[in-house]
């Protein structure tokens, strides 16, 4: 398979994981970090800090295996581990495939190579659910790891800005709680968090290699590992190049977001 074609097949899988886990971690991390900072040194704060500590200490690949063990032994009826159940042919390998819906084979092309999106385009509900089910565990693994860092950044940023003079002014003006916490405290605490979320993609892409290996998720990390173990120079160069381009793009986006969040910074 030519490297360009391989990248178009493998890379969307990785992006799918990276996007779902970063979005999930941000959605959970920012509100939880806010609560943790507002209830500083109380029970919710301690729980969040312990979770964050374990989250960023835990080895990705081990967490993935652990979640698989738990899913198989506790919820075997969910069928969220193992290969895709509906397709005879692995949809990651080919750009199109026949899949069996009921008894009749249906031609299933992959315009975007995001299986979830493709299934939605085709309107095949069963493939869509199957794809979503298989996203659960890899996403959860990456989310738990990333969440720890985001929680810490949001919490420490908020605790810092809570002691600022403008926050005291806002309180003494008699502004309602939610205005002070959202507009005065959190908006300023989000700045470092955004940089970290951008930088996390570097760590995330490293972690993706392991998570893809554990879940046999045919993404770019899995392909990179296989390329090294099989001494395939084209594969290694292709994956390294893609990782580099992706990182530069993410950092650019983080910079632009930075300027949007803080009007004092101009690009």
């Amino acid at each position: 398979m030519p490297v360009t074609q391989a990248i178009t097949v493998f890379f969307p899988q990785t992006i799918e994981l990276a996007i779902t886990s970063t979005v999930l971690a941000t959605l959970i991390g920012i509100p939880t970090g806010t609560i943790s900072a507002l209830r500083k040194d109380k029970l919710p704060d301690h729980l969040t800090r312990i979770f964050a500590l374990v989250g960023y200490s835990i080895p990705f690949f081990w967490l993935g295996l652990l979640l698989q063990i738990m899913a198989i032994s506790l919820f075997p009826q969910w069928e969220i581990t193992g290969g895709y159940s509906l397709t005879g042919i692995d949809p990651h390998q080919e750009s199109w495939a026949f899949i069996f819906v009921g008894d009749s084979p249906v031609l299933f092309s992959q315009p975007t190579h995001f299986l979830v999106v493709d299934a939605a385009i085709h309107g095949s509900w069963s493939v869509f659910v199957d794809a979503l089910k298989h996203l659960v565990l890899p996403t959860l693994t990456l989310t738990i790891g990333v969440l720890g860092v985001i929680l810490r950044m949001v919490r420490s940023g908020m605790v810092d800005s809570m002691n600022q003079d403008y926050v005291k002014t806002a309180w003494s003006k008699g502004l309602p709680d939610w205005v002070v916490t959202r507009v005065h405290i959190r908006r300023n605490a989000l700045l470092p968090a955004v940089t970290v979320i951008g930088l996390l993609f570097a760590g995330l892409l490293g972690g993706v290699v392991l998570v893809e290996d554990v879940f046999a998720w045919k993404g770019i990390g899995y392909w990179a590992t296989q390329a090294v173990l099989r001494f395939d120079p084209g594969g290694v160069m292709g994956t390294t190049l893609i990782f580099a381009i992706f990182l530069v793009l993410i950092n650019l986006i983080a910079d632009i977001l930075y300027a949007y969040l803080d009007p004092r910074i101009s690009l």
Binding site: L53, V54, Y56, S57, I58, P59, F60, F61, W62, L65, L66, Q68, I69, I72, S73, A202, G203, L205, G206, G207, V209, L210, D213, G221, A224, T225, A227, V228, L229, F231, P233, V236, T239, T240, F243, A244, L247, V248, N251
Partner: protein, 314 residues
């Protein structure tokens, strides 16, 4: 020539006993402050236990660099406290090929800690010297260094190790160590450089220069010792990270072709091969050992940061 010079303060050949005592007093104070916070104390104790295991392995365990399989009894046995475990499994059970998991993990801790501390300590050493030089001299070297560290920061470490190992065509430990080292010193160089920039403007540096000290002497004797606080914190935090990287590299197959290498990532792979759904302890236990070490090192690092950062010391 050949005589021992004794200065007024009683220092022999540059060894200043008074300064040494003063430094020890300071370290004792730091230790006291560190032990005041329970998480940091717990972290320190766990790290010391792991270090004790390393020493014990090094000197009292025979064949400490290979796991001993038992081909007469290859199926994994559960530890006796595991649901369904028998006393034949012992404390930690056995894994695939009849390897005693307790024995293997004991040896694995030594291997993991030795290699990760090699990378971290050497990285810190190299980074400190380069950082203090760049920060003190400034100019073109400084500029080049900063851009180089920018580049290394933007590379996912695992991808870099994979690509570099491929370029060298080797996957043994020495190569992996050197590649990680190449990736690790910039963190320290940046830390020390940032500190140097503020320390070199202080009065005692000016005084040393006025007294006629050479640039090299000022850098080594006056600037460097005052930039080390964040370096210690970073060393502590990095030990956990590098240990995990080693386990991860072994996990994806960088085990130097040695299938019976006692290494936590390798143990997890062996357990994984033995079907972890039927024998979950073969995967869970090595991971727990790794997790406890990383958590302990992180607790210790956070505690050290609180103690060594004067703004946080209340």
């Amino acid at each position: 020539m050949g005589t021992v010079t004794v200065s007024r303060q009683g220092s022999i050949l540059g060894f200043d006993a008074e300064a040494w005592r003063r430094r020890m007093r300071e370290y004792r104070l730091l230790l006291k402050l560190l032990l005041k916070s329970p998480p940091a104390a717990i972290g320190l104790i766990i790290v010391l236990v792991y270090l004790a295991i390393v020493v014990y392995d090094q000197f009292f365990v025979a064949q400490n660099d290979v796991m001993i399989p038992n081909f007469n009894d290859t199926l994994p046995r559960a530890p006796f406290w595991w649901p369904g475990g028998t006393s034949a499994g012992g404390w930690f059970g056995t894994t695939n090929n009849g390897i005693d998991l307790g024995d293997a993990m004991l040896k694995a801790i030594r291997i993991d800690l030795m290699y990760s501390s090699f990378v971290v300590l050497f990285g810190a050493l190299v980074g400190c010297f380069i950082g203090v030089f760049a920060g003190y001299r400034g100019g073109l070297f400084d500029e080049a260094l900063m851009r180089a560290t920018d580049v290394t920061y933007s590379i996912p470490f695992l991808v870099f190790v994979i690509a570099a190992a491929f370029a060298f065509g080797r996957r043994d430990f020495l190569t992996t160590n050197l590649i990680l080292l190449a990736l690790w010193w910039p963190t320290y160089a940046r830390l020390v450089r940032a500190q140097t920039l503020s320390v070199k403007e202080l009065k005692f540096v000016e005084a040393a220069r006025a007294a006629g000290a050479s640039d090299g002497r000022i850098m080594m004797k006056h600037v460097l010792p005052n930039t080390l606080a964040p370096v210690f914190v970073q060393i502590s935090l990095d030990l956990g990270v590098v240990t995990q990287i080693f386990a991860a590299l072994n996990f994806i197959g960088f085990n130097a072709g040695n299938l019976f290498l006692p290494e936590l990532g390798n143990l997890i792979v062996i357990g994984d091969v033995a079907s972890f759904t039927s024998y979950p302890w073969t995967v869970v236990l090595p991971g727990v050992v790794l997790l406890i070490f990383t958590v302990a090192v992180n607790l210790l690092g956070d505690g050290l940061r609180d103690v060594l950062d004067p703004r946080a010391r209340r």
